[in-house]
């Protein structure tokens, strides 16, 4: 069963901006309610316990090479 929530404003004549504000408010309310959800589903062992997601490589993103990094860290 799909979990969809509909706010039906019928034939109400409101601006696109107002519609957008209502949509934003609904999303905010949904987010707020979901924020505390915790089913402990991650405890079901499936893969080796690790970080399976985006992992920012700081050195690459600030465009420095290993040599510069070692110098910065005081190690030659």
């Amino acid at each position: 069963m799909k979990k969809r929530f509909v706010v039906d404003l019928g034939a109400l004549e409101i601006s696109d901006r107002d519609v957008e504000q209502v949509e934003t408010a609904i999303q905010k309310a949904a987010l707020s309610a979901l924020a505390e959800v915790d089913f402990n589903g991650d405890l079901v062992a499936r893969f080796p316990r690790e970080w399976l997601g985006l992992w920012i490589d700081i050195a690459k993103n600030i465009q420095i090479n290993d040599k510069e990094f070692r110098e910065f860290a005081g190690r030659s």
């Binding site: 979901l34 399976l52 985006l54």
Partner: protein
């Protein structure tokens, strides 16, 4: 499959011209909330993503790590991510290797969960439906607390 947005994604309603997104990103303001880790450990994916705001993040961080409980998406950083290797995402490659074809249903044409991200998903762009079948099995952070 070439790692780029596909022109005819499965049931996503997008053009495929947008940049690719990582479907297993850290929680951050502006990231998209795309699913919740359910009791059985599988991720229930949303039909439409929600954009994470500061209030959500503040509230979510009061509990266990959000990445243990939710799945988020944000733009794929490719080589700027430590998971990137050999021109593709190392996460979904490892997951598919671990699950094997029997779990990913390779070659089958079974229905997929609706997904808000599919049209711009890095994993889908690289591995197609096999990635979609494996995706709900992935919890971003399974490290010990």
């Amino acid at each position: 499959m070439t790692p780029q947005a596909v022109s005819d994604p499965v049931g996503c309603g997008t053009t495929g011209d947008e940049p690719l997104n990582c479907p297993s990103a850290p929680a951050a303001v502006g990231a998209k909330l795309i699913g919740i880790v359910q009791r059985n450990g599988r991720v229930g994916l949303f039909g439409k993503s929600l954009t994470v705001d500061a209030d959500f993040l503040e509230k979510a961080r009061r509990g266990r790590a959000p990445e243990k409980r939710f799945r988020f998406a944000s733009p794929c950083l490719q080589g700027g991510c430590k998971q990137w290797g050999e021109g593709q995402c190392g996460v979904i490659r490892r997951v598919l290797d671990a699950l094997g074809n029997d779990r990913t249903g390779a070659g089958e044409d079974a229905g997929l969960q609706p997904c808000a991200l599919r049209g711009t998903c890095r994993w889908f762009a690289e591995h197609g439906r096999a990635a979609c079948r494996a995706c709900p099995e992935v919890v971003t952070d399974t490290q010990e607390a």
